[in-house]
């Protein structure tokens, strides 16, 4: 495993998903990992910490992932956001790309998919 220096933000209302994704990211060499349990928390953390990469869920209470990405991209046009959702419908993928996400990962994701994203980003 080669250590990378990416700062990654995980936004998902599920603590299980955050935990599992964190484990995968760590096994891929990421050690600087931030977590948010809601869209609004992700925006706040992004503005404060300026991560290199964001994994964003879509279906979340209050502010969903699409709205959160829109605000993050408004704040930082260079933001790298991956939408990660079980609901990868055509409409959701279209919306995600429209607001500025550069990748869509259908849950349940495989470690290889996550690793590939990290490699492409480096």
């Amino acid at each position: 495993m080669i250590e990378n220096f990416l700062k990654v933000l995980i936004c998902d209302d599920s603590m299980l998903i955050r935990k599992k994704l964190k484990e995968v990211l760590k096994s891929c060499g990421c050690n600087d990992i931030l977590e948010a349990a809601s869209g609004q928390a992700a925006i706040d953390i992004y503005k404060k910490n300026n991560p290199d990469l964001v994994f964003m869920d879509i279906i979340m209470p209050f502010k969903n992932g699409i709205e959160a990405v829109r605000e993050i991209i408004e704040f930082d046009k260079e933001a790298k956001v991956v939408m990660a959702s079980s609901a990868g419908t055509k409409e959701h993928v279209k919306e995600a790309i429209k607001v500025g996400a550069f990748e869509f990962v259908q849950k349940p994701w495989e470690k290889e998919q996550i690793n590939k994203i990290l490699i492409n980003l480096k």
Partner: protein, 290 residues
Amino acid sequence: MFSQYFGQYLLTEKYLTKDQLKTAIDYQQSVHLKLGVLAINAGYMNAQQASEVHQMQSKVDKRFGEIAVDAAYLKEEQVEKLLSSQKFGHLLLAQALIDKSYMSLEKFEEAIYEYKKKYNISDCQFEALQRDDVDEIINIYVELEGDKYEVEMKKYIALFMKNIIRFIDSEVYTSKIMKVEEHKTKCAVTQKIKNSINFQTYINAKPDVFALIASRYAEEELTIVDELAKDSVGEFLNLNNGLYLVGMSNRGIELDMEPQSEFFEKIIYSTYVLPIELPFGRIELIISHF
């Protein structure tokens, strides 16, 4: 999966006692299918012919297939087909019952015949059942006739069962679906699917079973219903519903869903309750229109 349904049928119709079924299920792991059972199941031979061949076997040093071909009960190609056929679950059960003398070949033939008749199962459907085709199993066993979302709900239930098999346990079957005026949950999570089709689904179980489902899905040891356990079962429902949305989207129907939430010790009015039996207990898939 189909063997669970067939076993329950044998029990309900009093072909067997509960203890006999349990012993046979335990024993079936070590069972090897014999050609006679396969031939009857495929409809190539009747029970009397199979018994005759068995009797002949005790007199001549020949295999079942050879004797059956000599007697013109089977063709060579049918023997080959039978030999290469899969180890169908319900046949392993049948073989175990016959080996244990709980059932004769004749009774087995009768049970298969009555079973097909009871559920109005065509030969083509029966073949699909034997392959554990989940869509066909749900189509036959889950009665939702007359419901405006019958097709969509059956697709949903079939997907749910596939995900149970994939993530929780492969030894699973459904009991009879019920439509009830009110139903009180114990430990439940729920999520709404909406737009052109609107229904709300729940996973409900007693605390110990709920914790086990959570534990299997999370792949972590969870013994009590804590926040992680609730989150895990909720995420399982969310994953299933997300995949349902993707499937519908591929068919040109765009649906959406709300975030999942917990629903403990509350009443649901006018709803379907589908009991799902797992080796470690029962869960309920509850589906309501809204």
